[in-house]
């Protein structure tokens, strides 16, 4: 993929991000922070690519350690966000 197509995708995604995020109300800012943090764990894709490249033990190890970190970020992030969001309910306390 050419550098400029990827740059174009980057710029458009930043626009989408700004527009979508500014619509999140303050009440949900903590879940937004943890949820978007979970999405940043997308580096897990890169970790898989690195760990499975078969380019030598070093890259496999680096990739695998990255995989551990990224998995913590992804699994922990989505789970804790889910845990928080489930609590947001309408209607009085029972």
């Amino acid at each position: 993929m050419s550098f400029l197509s990827i740059l174009t995708i980057f710029v458009l995604a930043v626009f989408v991000g700004f527009e979508v995020i500014t619509k999140v109300p303050p009440i949900l800012h903590t879940p937004l922070m943890s949820g978007s943090n979970a999405i940043s764990g997308i580096t897990i894709i890169g970790a898989i690519v690195a760990a499975s490249s078969g380019a030598g033990l070093l890259t496999t190890v680096l990739g695998s350690v990255a995989l551990v970190f990224a998995s913590i970020n992804v699994v922990g992030g989505f789970l804790v966000t889910h845990r928080m969001l489930q609590k947001f309910k309408k209607g009085g306390p029972r």
Binding site: M1, S2, I6, F10, V16, G17, V20, I21, K23, P25, P26, H29, T30, P31, L32, M33, S34, G35, S36, N37, A38, I39, S40, I42, T43, I44, I45, G46, A47, A50, A51, S52, S53, G56, L58, T59, L62, G63, S64, V65, A66, L67, F69, A70, S71, I72, N73, V74, G76, F78, L79, V80, H82, R83, M84, K87, F88, K90, G92, P93
Partner: protein, 481 residues
């Protein structure tokens, strides 16, 4: 359009991906966007988060299938270990410790970026596999960016975590020449970065870069006070997104670029919102070193002889005759873990037909939206959690405003255009309520370190005590009254 002058088609690890992989990545990008859009309302937020998780799962599965995985054992072990740790952390953490947990997760994302970019560098330029005849510049610059931003994110987040968890001192650590040290570190990192771009085969330089950036990350965060950590975490969250996007440029991988930039935008916006709500600039937060508790000499004068203290019984009596009560929680409620007692009081008041609402300041607590999470955990309807603009006009019709462990966010000094640190910060106008009850342990100031004339106002009653203890007493007294 195929660029002619500067061909940058990336060979390398991801060179052989099929069209269906890109299609699946596009689908998961759409899922991420849809997920974030879901967060625009509590109603759709749970589903939104699940959509995001689904997008992630799709991207992972597709990548696993697409890669000719050699050693499944490494992959499985890595994912399993990480997932278990992440799940345990997520499920066992107390809601009050949420800020530091997000900080920690954030750091791990940064660490992953460092390692991935390093591995790719070794693979392409070190080992000689893959071969990057074209597009070197894109790859090397992006690798340097990944390593630099990733390392700052990782170590910065660790310090932020430490400060919030009490492992590292909460106090701003300041020293002469502080800014110069940071600038030198950044310059050194950039210098090494340029070396890498010029000769990427010197893979060891990459690790030197990472080392310098790690020290930079520590030095950037350590001088910032504990109360400013939420802003730091939001900013580092943005950085972790940028690092992921940079890794995407390294691998020419669209989903990394898209997801990374979404997160980058999100973090920046949250940072801005917090800064605006505190009427401070980001530069002031990062380099200004507010957050040291300044001893305020005039404090005695402000309060002298004018503070009225009260008891649980008296407050309970006042509440009995109220029609509308507004609760304003702050950092002290989180510290004292008083939210359960808050819910109990709310229920008791509502049973008597008293209208109860909550006034939530955007920077109350330790994180944007922190109070909302704590109160939501107690099953308090999000209808009752009012933002500043909504609740402020209603204080005039409010009989009792109960301020629980909040201080700066209700300090009327902010309204005066003086030189005080919080001048111009929008506040909750609790002083307009008929009676104001303030629950805190002492007359000591809040994070901004300045006296609060509200404590000495005619319609203010101070209810001294730990937040949880005081609220428990109040609930009991109200039930008996």
């Amino acid at each position: 359009m195929n660029p002619g002058g500067y061909a940058v088609t990336v060979a390398g690890p991801a060179g052989g991906a099929a069209v269906w992989v890109d299609a699946a990545y596009l689908l998961s990008a759409v899922l991420f966007i849809a997920g974030l859009k879901g967060l625009s309302h509590p109603r759709s937020a749970v589903r939104g988060n699940l959509l995001g998780a689904l997008g992630m799962l799709l991207a992972i599965v597709v990548t696993l299938v697409d890669q000719q995985v050699m050693d499944w054992i490494w992959i499985v072990a890595g994912v399993a270990a990480g997932s278990v740790v992440g799940a345990v952390l997520a499920l066992t953490i107390k809601m009050t410790a949420m800020p530091q947990l997000v900080g920690l997760f954030n750091g791990f994302g940064g660490a992953a970026s460092i390692l991935v970019a390093g591995a790719v560098l070794i693979q392409i330029f070190g080992v000689g596999l893959g071969g990057a005849e074209t597009g070197e510049l894109q790859i090397t610059i992006a690798t340097v960016a990944s390593g630099l931003v990733g390392a700052v994110t990782f170590f910065g987040s660790l310090i932020a975590f430490g400060k919030l968890q009490g492992i590292v001192t909460e106090k701003p650590v300041r020293y002469p020449g502080e800014q110069i040290v940071k600038i030198l570190l950044l310059a050194a990192a950039l210098f090494v970065g340029v070396l890498i771009v010029l000769d990427p085969s010197q893979v060891s330089y990459y690790w030197i870069l990472v080392a310098i950036a790690s020290v930079l990350g520590i030095f950037l965060v350590i001088p910032i006070g504990g109360a400013d950590m939420p802003i730091v975490i939001a900013l580092l969250n943005s950085y972790s997104g940028i690092a992921a996007a940079a890794t995407g440029f390294v691998l020419s991988n669209t989903i990394l670029v898209i997801a990374g930039s979404l997160v980058g935008a999100s973090g920046i916006i949250l940072t801005q919102i917090m800064c605006r709500a505190m009427n401070r600039s980001l530069a002031n937060v990062l380099f200004g070193g507010v957050g040291a508790v300044i001893e305020d000499a005039s404090q005695g004068d402000v309060y002298a002889g004018k503070v009225t203290s009260t008891s649980a019984e008296e407050v309970a009596m006042i509440l009995k005759s109220a029609q509308r009560v507004v609760l304003v929680p702050g950092y002290g409620m989180a510290v004292a873990r008083a939210q359960t007692a808050v819910r109990q009081l709310t229920e008791a008041l509502e049973r008597d037909g008293i209208e109860v609402e909550f006034g939530i300041h955007p920077v109350a607590g330790r994180m944007p939206g922190h109070m909302n999470v704590l109160l939501a955990e107690e099953n308090i309807s999000y209808d009752k959690l009012r933002e500043m603009d909504q609740i402020n006009p209603t204080f005039a019709n409010t009989d009792v405003a109960i301020v629980l462990g909040a201080n700066d966010v209700v300090n009327p000094v902010a309204r005066e255009a003086s030189g005080s640190p919080i001048a111009g910060m929008p506040i909750l106008d609790v002083d307009k309520a008929r009676t104001v009850v303030i629950i805190k342990r002492s007359l000591s100031p809040g994070f901004a370190g300045i006296a609060n004339p509200l404590f000495a106002a005619d319609n203010t009653l101070m209810f001294f005590g730990d937040g949880k203890v005081a609220m428990d007493q109040l609930v009991a007294a109200y039930r008996d009254a």
